[in-house]
């Protein structure tokens, strides 16, 4: 029988609330289940790791609700804000990685990132982490 996958790796590539919540929900739940979890933020997803942008992330047009409406619905369900959820993830042991090519592209510096980032990595490091046979890797 194949061994159970005990590591979850997620590429969070979208800079919308409905693109980022699922990544954070799955990563925090994975840790609660005793797995290791890694979140690799890239392209649009990097907004959540960027001080100047993290609080202004909106839902996608596809979701059909405004930022305010979504925040109201989420808080009714006891759901923290994206940034609080990110901090919760970090505190619970989720590893948070920023994408180096995205940072180069937009001229971002380490000082621009929110304080939870564990490391800035590129494609090769990411692939090494994701290549472990006991890893479940998702692209969101």
């Amino acid at each position: 029988m194949a061994e159970e996958k005990n590591r979850l790796v997620i590429v969070a590539s979208r800079g919308t609330a409905d693109g980022l919540y699922p990544a954070l929900i799955l990563a925090t739940t994975a840790v609660a289940q005793g797995k290791e979890a890694y979140l690799y933020f890239t392209f649009g997803g990097m907004k959540l790791l960027t001080k100047q942008m993290a609080e202004s992330i909106k839902p996608s047009v596809d979701l059909g609700v405004s930022k305010e409406q979504l925040e109201q619905l989420l808080s009714r369900g006891g759901m923290p804000s994206l940034l609080d959820m990110l901090r919760m993830a970090k505190e619970s042991g989720v590893k948070i990685y920023a994408c180096s090519p995205t940072m180069n592209l937009f001229g971002m510096k380490k000082e621009d990132l929110v304080e939870v980032v564990d490391d800035i990595i590129g494609a090769s490091t990411f692939l090494e982490i994701a290549s472990d046979p006991k890893t479940l890797a998702l692209f969101i």
């Binding site: 289940q33 009714r76 006891g78 759901m79």
Partner: protein, 82 residues
């Protein structure tokens, strides 16, 4: 139905996935092995989510019942086993 006495209550009524599992996990680390916590939840997925969480973490759901006083509220008794 159960004579087990919980040492802690996690009230996540009204809260959505993943909060019931995250808060249950946080609570179970605060009790001794062998002790039991009570979880009150309304999320319709909480039953399957907490059962799956218990299987993965090796803890035991001693009882699940729909609370008699409030329809749509699930009451779980979960024993810390490790």
């Amino acid at each position: 139905m159960s004579v087990v006495k919980p040492v802690l209550t996690v009230d996540v009524r009204g809260e959505m996935c993943p909060m019931p599992v995250l808060k249950t996990r946080q609570a179970i680390t605060q009790i001794n092995i062998g002790d039991v916590i009570e979880v009150l939840a309304t999320d319709p997925a909480s039953k399957s989510d907490l059962e799956s969480w218990a299987r993965k973490t090796g803890n035991k759901i001693v009882a699940v019942e729909e609370a008699e006083t409030q329809a749509g509220v699930y009451r779980f008794l979960i024993q810390r086993l490790r």
